[in-house]
């Protein structure tokens, strides 16, 4: 596609989307690191990538030369695949974009700008309380500038303006959101959007791989003329998007994913550079990321066994997943592979007469899952910090609950929007999202729920209950940072109380005490301690002792939640 193209059709959209996905995918880990807190929760890039991948997948499943039809397919896929707040907003941007272009056979430059504008409007409507300095601002400024392009501008010219404005808006996000400034980062969602737009631009410029042949798209979408081969900076061997479009071009056939559970002392001390070097010789699309005790590895390799052998010298492997990409080339990324797995096994579709009310809750960790089921939750959706379920995952879970009204407990701030989106995807029952942003809020809501009360009464009681509990979390810092007047070194145990960093210590027990002290400053009758994977008997005892010494009247509930990421989740009410 060269500048000569002044009209975009559905095939061009597929090419743009694929390039956007490709660019976002290769930058996903950079986006993940744009994290306000130095906690291992950086999944904005991952969430946006998986959301866009779901759109591209649907677009490839229903290819259409009609622009509006192609855009609609892509938007549908994204609405279902949306995860995380940034993913949901991205899906809404495209949904508005598709609304505008629904009846358009082709799109010119001016219409492209209008479509982007419509997307911005839709996204703003979706967000309950739009916050400036986020992906919303970046999208809005970009669309506004696109619409200021002179009449008759080509799509590529509009896109140039869009990208320029998006980059400027992104740079300004720390001035709009103080928390970004304190953390010294730009908004992650805004950055992700810019990467998507830059991917579009590459496709418009013809900078993508030049001979994309697809079993679904017989005609090349890339205009060869005028493209400068030196501009093609595609990393060698790394073509996830087109590789999946055309199976026989796949160089590394197995998408291999696993987590190394580091066991220092027993096995070789972890050396990230060494592992990277070994794995990059075996394949591409390499991602090595993790915390002090777990490292996530993703690699496309021809010999997945070799990749695992290389990793096993550092610890045991868990959550191993290998996909044959040639067999399943219709799948766009590994994102698709996990789409169906979020609803926990053992939750068959319920039978019998529908109940008046039911609950679907998001949680990770055997103890948390059991406790939710025990307190009357019908279906637990696997997910939480660093593993946000998609709108589709949540909708699937809701569909398994035989009830007229289903309450959804997202139990994580970054899942709330996907839950709301899921509510719109379920047609035959009423779905209400209780905006529980933490596990303690989720339990407070469940305890306020009474199966024999009408839906309205439960809705009110649950919404009230989540405001009556304070939540704290203990995890380890993934980088050095200084935020909320606390200096953090990588590896420190940090305590976060209701979105504020309040403790950073080298010893787990010290961080726990610091967090408790902060959380109890405003009083409280009951402390709940949910021990996670990183919890230690020593730290648990230290908290018990400290509470007995300082708050003798408190009631204490200590419980093995088994959650990943957070050594402890603490509730005060």
């Amino acid at each position: 596609m060269s500048k000569r193209f002044n009209l975009l059709n559905g095939r061009h959209l597929a090419e743009l989307a694929a390039a956007g996905l490709w660019n976002l995918e290769r930058q996903a880990s950079a986006v993940n690191q744009l994290n306000v807190f130095p906690v291992p929760d950086g999944d904005t890039g991952t969430n946006m990538r998986m959301t866009l991948a779901a759109g591209v997948k649907e677009l490839l499943r229903k290819p259409d030369v009609h622009f509006g039809a192609a855009a609609a397919a892509m938007a549908d896929g994204m609405l279902l695949g949306a995860r995380g707040n940034s993913g949901v907003i991205l899906s809404q941007l495209f949904s508005g974009f598709a609304d505008y272009s629904r009846d358009l056979e082709t799109l010119n430059g001016g219409q492209l700008a209008e479509a982007l504008q419509r997307g911005v409007e839709k996204a703003y409507q979706t967000v309950v309380k739009p916050v400036e300095g986020t992906i919303l601002t970046v999208a809005r400024m970009a669309a506004e500038r696109g619409n200021q392009a002179p009449d008759g501008s080509l799509p590529i010219e509009v896109m140039e303006e869009v990208i320029r404005a998006a980059a400027e808006a992104l740079k300004d996000t720390p001035n709009q959101l103080p928390i970004l400034k304190k953390a010294g980062v730009v908004d992650a969602g805004g950055q992700g959007l810019l990467y998507v737009y830059e991917g579009f631009m590459r496709a418009l410029r013809g900078e993508q791989e030049k001979s994309v042949e697809s079993d679904k798209f017989s005609e090349s979408m890339v205009a060869v003329e005028g493209a400068d081969p030196t501009l093609n900076d595609t990393p060698p061997g790394h073509h996830p998007v087109q590789a999946l479009i055309s199976a026989d071009q796949i160089q590394y056939g197995y998408c291999t994913e696993f987590i190394i559970k580091l066991t220092p002392g027993k096995k070789k001390p972890f050396d990230q550079d060494e592992l990277r070097n070994t794995l990059s010789a075996l394949g591409d699309s390499l991602l090595v990321a993790g915390s002090n005790d777990k490292v996530k590895v993703h690699v496309h390799a021809e010999l997945p066994g070799d990749a695992m052998n290389a990793a096993m010298v550092y610890g045991d492997l868990i959550h191993i997943k290998i996909e044959n990409m040639r067999e399943q080339h219709a799948r766009i990324t590994e994102a698709a592979a996990v789409e169906d797995s979020a609803v926990e096994p053992g939750a068959p579709e319920q039978e019998g007469e529908p109940k008046p009310c039911g609950i679907a809750a998001v949680a990770a960790g055997d103890g948390l899952r059991e406790a939710f089921l025990q307190q009357g939750v019908d279906v637990v959706i696997f997910g939480g910090q660093t593993m946000n379920p998609s709108a589709q995952d949540i909708a699937d879970a809701v569909n398994r609950v035989r009830a007229h009204t289903v309450f959804v407990l997202p139990n994580n701030d970054n899942v709330i929007m996907a839950a709301r989106q899921a509510a719109g995807l379920v047609k035959d029952k009423r779905v209400e999202t209780i905006p529980s942003g933490t596990i303690p809020q989720g339990f407070a809501a469940v305890l306020a729920y009474q199966a024999d009360l009408p839906a309205e009464a439960n809705l009110g009681a649950m919404n009230k209950a989540i405001r009556g509990v304070r939540s704290g979390q203990i995890t380890r810092a993934v980088r050095n940072s200084s935020i909320d007047d606390v200096n953090v070194r990588q590896g420190d145990y940090i305590g976060i109380a209701d979105k504020k960093l309040v403790a950073a210590e080298t010893e787990l027990a010290d961080a726990c005490r610091g967090l408790l002290k902060h959380m109890l400053a405003d009083g409280g009758d009951l402390v709940g301690i949910y021990c996670g994977e990183g919890a230690t008997g020593e730290a648990t005892d230290a908290m018990r002792q400290w509470l007995a010494d300082n708050y003798a009247d408190l009631e204490l509930d200590i419980f093995t939640g088994g959650q990943p990421v957070y050594s402890y989740i603490i509730s005060v009410e």
Partner: protein, 284 residues
């Protein structure tokens, strides 16, 4: 005619002064610690019972009065006041065979006295309040039907909530009823219990921690009564300080006309366990 006497059993937890002033006859149940057998409220008082309970390795067992125990009381009343009528109000038949014993005793009396036996479908002061209302009507010289009606009216208006330290006693004693699903909770849940219309223990709500649970009971009563004047009875199983604390909360949020404390007696105590708190609330 016109002389109506009220009989209840020892599980009604009516304080002694009230029993005496209202002339209520009490038929005791029995409680056994191993080989030792005690008569509820006669050979063992609540304080001794809870001491023994704390020291005992095994849980005590309880037994209903025999029909003969009832016959003795009915005979005594008939001898004292020939021609009198009896309203005999007892612990819910869902919890105990006491009501059955009373019915048998009535048949054994072979018409020697006019006895009306009532299954309270309630327990502790829930049953006690019915007996007290009937006794007040009797003292006012009301006929039997009106005494019975007074007891039923109280039953209709009574709001009962109770909190147990642990559900173990209810479970082991086989009286846990509809709260059985709460056993084995991973979270330290404090269920707010009641006795439902079927005379069974049921959980109306789950709270996290006993302070929250008490606060929720106060809220529920506020929702129910608003500014209406209420009479309260706070009962406790060896937990006087908590009962007083609870009473303060109730008084500060409700328009309390009268408040009275009572101890949960040995038989009830054996089934709910020490530390149990209960409130019985009725419009004044």
């Amino acid at each position: 005619m016109g002389d109506v006497r009220i009989v209840t059993d020892s599980t009604s937890d009516i304080p002694l002064f009230l029993r005496q002033s209202l002339n209520i006859e009490v038929v005791p149940l029995k409680v056994q610690f191993g080989d030792e057998s005690y008569v509820d409220g006669v050979t063992i008082q609540p304080e001794q019972f809870y001491e023994k309970l704390a020291a005992s390795a095994s849980l005590p067992t309880t037994s209903q009065p025999s029909p003969v125990d009832f016959v003795d009381v009915y005979h005594k009343l008939a001898d004292d006041t020939p021609g009198m009528q009896v309203v005999s109000i007892h612990l819910s038949s869902t919890f105990s065979g006491t009501y059955q014993s009373a019915l048998l005793a009535k048949s054994m009396m072979k018409g020697k006295a006019d006895i009306h036996v009532i299954d309270s479908r309630s327990a502790s002061y829930g049953c006690g309040a019915m007996a007290v209302a009937a006794a007040r009507a009797a003292q006012a010289g009301k006929p039997l039907e009106q005494c019975v009606q007074a007891a039923h009216n109280i039953f209709e208006k009574m709001n009962i909530y109770f909190l147990v330290d642990t559900l173990d006693y209810l479970q082991k004693g086989g009286r846990i009823g509809k709260a059985a699903s709460l056993i084995g909770s991973l979270l330290a849940i404090k269920p707010i219990l009641t006795i439902d219309d079927e005379g069974q223990v049921a959980s109306v709500e789950k709270a996290r921690g006993s302070k929250k649970a008490m606060a929720r009971i106060v809220e529920r009563l506020q929702d129910r009564f608003g500014d209406m004047p209420v009479n309260l009875v706070v009962a406790h199983a060896n937990a006087q300080p908590s009962a007083e604390q609870f009473a303060e909360q109730l008084k500060s949020s409700l328009h309390v006309e009268e408040i009275m404390f009572t101890s949960l007696g040995p038989v009830i105590g054996a089934h709910v366990g020490p530390g149990t708190l209960a409130v019985f609330a009725c419009p004044a």
